[in-house]
């Protein structure tokens, strides 16, 4: 196996006949017409082949790997899973996370009293999710987070909390390589929610 150096072939020099207008137009139109009719027939058969997405009405189908805005996992008891260890704050390259820890009587003992993410600086890099030892901050599929005032881009804890069952696809994606026995599987979660 090896690489070789080859000289690319140049098409022959232009002849007068090549530059004749009508012929050229026909040749170009054949290509575009092919696309047009392919799309048209597919449309008539109800199977879209054009690449354009009619955005607000239609959304893109994202793969589960998609990294959108980071959010906090909210457990079924309504509290966050975060233990305010501060690793995500360290790992964030642009320092957009601010955490003020506090103590709680729960078994996790610590929780973030304040957990702010400055979304105008966040670049959706995913380091916070990778650093978190608790699976408490994950990348959601939300991307439409524009605001009309700059204060609106500072997200507080109550805005960031997302119920765990809504984050199931992502949690399942990041748990591909391992099991987490103390965390209920998505099926169990759904079951428990139904019982409630």
């Amino acid at each position: 196996m090896a690489s070789r150096v080859v000289t690319v072939e140049r098409p022959p020099r232009l002849r007068a006949v090549d530059t004749m207008g009508p012929l050229l137009i026909v040749r170009g139109l054949l290509v575009t017409a092919r696309h047009f009719f392919r799309n048209l027939f597919a449309f008539m058969r109800g199977r879209r082949t054009i690449a354009t997405i009619l955005y607000p009405e239609e959304k893109m189908a994202w793969s589960p790997a998609m990294r959108g805005m980071p959010v906090l996992v909210q457990m079924e008891n309504g509290k966050e899973r975060c233990v305010a260890c501060g690793l995500c704050e360290w790992a964030c390259p642009v320092d957009c996370i601010t955490i003020y820890p506090a103590e709680t009587a729960d078994e996790i003992e610590r929780y973030p009293e304040i957990f702010d993410i400055d979304m105008s600086r966040c670049m959706f890099c995913g380091f916070c999710e990778e650093a978190c030892p608790e699976e408490a901050i994950v990348m959601s599929q939300r991307v439409a987070i524009a605001t009309t005032e700059w204060r609106g881009s500072l997200w507080h804890k109550r805005d960031l909390l997302v119920p765990v069952h809504e984050l199931d696809p992502r949690l399942r994606y990041i748990r591909r390589g391992y099991d987490r026995p103390d965390v209920p599987t998505p099926a169990q979660t759904a079951e428990r929610l139904e019982k409630r």
Binding site: S3, V5, V8, R10, R67
Partner: protein, 402 residues
């Protein structure tokens, strides 16, 4: 070259003087933020000055103030048309400095990622060139083809452009199931679209007349300017870092390095064109040979431990805390590692003083040296030749200005 008007009797009667015009910084027919000050006599370029720096963001200063791993997302933003190659280049340089090597599966996946990015970059370059020469349809097809590649980026790492995929000692994540089929399908779809671009552009006389014979510079002048990549190969020099100094698994793959014969813009276009096909071949071979195994180095000094262990075991939890807060600590020293970027030799020069932060993180950007040669390429040419030449130089602002 005679720069004046051709009819001498005209010059005697008319008082003419060179005209200075500014092209850019955001000119509709240049796909980069650059200012070209042209001194014109009629339509002929007497002299020009290229000014860059409009996209300067302080890449090096930013890298020096973070941990080693925190520079990776910034490298995405260097050449944003081919982000994976920058990730790979930086991580290879860091691994050389640390003295580690990623597992074979990671090497193959990095190769696939690099070639996907190279395809995306060439699609952008060719599509934008066609657009700037007033051909809208090839641009749309190219962008559609690029979207196929971005779908694969998304499947690999979750982001379409700002990938942040490669890690020092591994990768962000392993493949999703079914990636190989998806990859073959999307690359084939992209190449089919590109076949249409080929039909529309390659033999098109208007396109050829604007590309042929323009922007030529002899090979030794290009080398003296530090020009690399498709530009240099179009002039007949078969220098490709993938072949000359194989990194990753390129020495195990079978591919061709296309070179041109005349070194004009048309050759540059053809070389890029052929490289696209070769990239597809490389991806196919790498997918075929892709070994099983881990994608991450199992070494708590360099790579964050696997999440499953962090959750269930004490040592790994401590490792995780130490690695995130202190960063990995390479030995003191300096390395330079070059990879073949989409526009030429992309090098990273890293200096470490033994702490968790880079002392110096320098990126040798191919676009920077390539843009420098633009002045000589358009000297004495017509004003209309600036556009195809600039297109084929393919200056990417994010990389040129860092």
């Amino acid at each position: 070259m005679d720069a004046g008007p051709t009819n001498p009797s005209l010059t005697n009667d008319l008082h003419t003087q060179p005209m200075e015009i500014q092209m850019g910084p955001s000119h509709p027919s240049t796909h980069g933020t650059v200012k070209i000050t042209l001194k014109l006599d009629g339509e002929r370029i007497l002299d020009s000055e290229v000014e860059v720096g409009y996209l300067h963001r302080g890449f090096e200063k930013e890298c020096e103030s973070g941990e080693w791993y925190q520079a990776i997302p910034y490298t995405d933003r260097l050449n944003y048309a081919s982000p994976m190659i920058n990730n790979v280049g930086y991580c290879l340089a860091a691994e050389k400095l640390f003295g580690v090597e990623a597992p074979p599966r990671a090497q193959y996946l990095r190769t696939i990622a690099s070639e996907l990015s190279r395809m995306a970059d060439h699609f952008t370059c060719i599509g934008a060139s066609a657009l700037e020469l007033a051909a809208l349809t090839p641009f749309l097809y190219c962008v559609q083809a690029r979207e196929q590649i971005y779908d694969l980026h998304e499947s690999l790492c979750g982001a379409r452009v700002t990938t942040n995929y490669v890690r020092i000692g591994g990768l962000q994540s392993d493949l999703q199931p079914g990636f190989a089929e998806l990859c073959r399908e999307k690359v084939a779809a992209a190449l089919t679209l590109f076949g249409d671009v080929d039909e529309l552009l390659t033999k098109n006389p208007i396109f050829r007349e604007r590309m042929e014979g323009t922007g030529t510079l002899p090979a030794d002048a290009l080398i003296a300017y530090g020009v690399t990549g498709p530009l240099l190969r179009a002039a007949g020099v078969g220098f490709d870092v993938r072949r000359a100094e194989p990194y990753l698994v390129y020495d195990r793959l079978d591919f061709e390095v296309p070179v041109g014969s005349r070194g004009d813009n048309y050759d540059r276009y053809l070389v890029r064109f052929e490289e696209l096909r070769q990239s597809a071949r490389i991806i196919e071979q790498a997918l075929r040979d892709l070994p099983d195994g881990p994608v991450d180095l199992d070494d708590p000094r360099f790579r964050w431990p696997a999440k499953g262990k962090v959750f269930n075991r004490m040592e790994e939890l401590i490792d995780q805390f130490k690695l995130v807060t202190e960063g990995m600590r390479p030995p003191a020293g300096e390395v330079y590692q070059a990879v073949e970027g989409a526009n030429g030799e992309l090098g990273f020069y890293l200096v470490s003083n033994g702490t968790g932060k880079p002392w110096k993180c320098r990126c040798r950007a191919p676009s920077f040296s390539n843009t420098q040669a633009l002045r000589d390429m358009i000297q004495g040419a017509l004003l209309a030749d600036v556009v195809p030449t600039f297109d084929m130089v393919n200056m990417i602002g994010g990389e040129c200005d860092r």
